[in-house]
Structure formats: structure tokens, C-alpha cells
């Protein structure tokens, strides 16, 4: 049973990691201007854009989950 719990946790961790990779990809495209990448760390537009991109993505997930529960309740 402990093993099962362990495997489930690992499975969840793997899914979170996969989400982070996919979200990095999505948000990089939205926030880092296309074409040549500017040298240096994330600048004052890129950094908040990346953070907001994560937050709005998860906001969107919540909207979807709420709608799904409404549908279930019908």
C-alpha cells in the first residue's frame, strides 16, 4: 500500500513536471518576442509576463473545472 502511494505520488510529480515544461513552452512563445532573443536575464516585460502567463493559465483551468462540475451536477 505504501508502494502504491509512492507510485501515485511519483506519477503526480511527473504530471506536474510535464505541465511545467509545456507551460514554459507556451508562455515563452507569448512573452519572449519572436526572432532573435535579447541578451541578458528576463527583462522587466518578460519576467512579469511569464508569471502572469502561469497565473492566467491556471485561472483558465479553474474556469474549466468549475464548468465541468456544473455540467456534472445537471
Amino acid at each position: 500500500q505504501e508502494l502504491q502511494q509512492f507510485l501515485q505520488n511519483e506519477g503526480q510529480k511527473a504530471r506536474i513536471q510535464a505541465s511545467i515544461h509545456s507551460l514554459t513552452d507556451t508562455c515563452f512563445k507569448k512573452c519572449i518576442a519572436p526572432g532573435a532573443v535579447k541578451k541578458g536575464p528576463l527583462d522587466k516585460h518578460e519576467e512579469p509576463c511569464m508569471r502572469q502567463c502561469v497565473d492566467r493559465f491556471l485561472d483558465g483551468n479553474l474556469v474549466v473545472l468549475k464548468e465541468l462540475e456544473k455540467l456534472r451536477g445537471m
Binding site: C31, D55, R56, F57, D59, G60, V64, E67
Partner: protein, 74 residues
């Protein structure tokens, strides 16, 4: 139990694709919060996407069954 896992993975995949897709469409530039326009877009997009998935599933399965029968008869 494997069947249950299959069904759960299927549902999880649908929600994942849907989130990904509707985020791309509804939030071109992530801001400091989800605007009400973006939120409406999410629910509309979600409904459309689920219907689209339903239509594809039905059509796909029907076609495969037709082909297998055809193959069996020829």
C-alpha cells in the same frame, strides 16, 4: 482497474488539451487578471471543444467499425 485508469487518463487528456487550446485562443496577452471577456471565451471554447471531441469520437469509431465490417465481408 487498468480499464478505470484508461478512462481517467482519457478524461485527463481531454481536459489538458482543452485547457491548452482555449488558453492559446482566449488569452493572447496574459494580464494581471483574467478579464470577463477572457472568462466568457474560456467557457464558450470549452463547450465547443467538448462537442468537437464528441463528434470526432463518434465519427471515428463509426468509421473504424464500418471498415472492419467491410474488411470482414470482402
Amino acid at each position: 482497474q487498468i480499464q478505470q485508469q484508461g478512462a481517467m487518463q482519457n478524461a485527463r487528456m481531454l481536459v489538458e488539451k482543452l485547457n491548452q487550446h482555449c488558453f492559446e485562443r482566449c488569452v493572447p496577452k496574459p494580464g494581471t487578471s483574467l478579464s470577463s471577456g477572457e472568462e466568457t471565451c474560456f467557457t464558450t471554447c470549452m463547450e465547443k471543444y467538448m462537442q468537437a471531441w464528441n463528434t470526432v469520437s463518434k465519427q471515428y469509431v463509426a468509421r473504424i467499425q464500418k471498415e472492419q465490417q467491410g474488411g470482414g465481408l470482402l
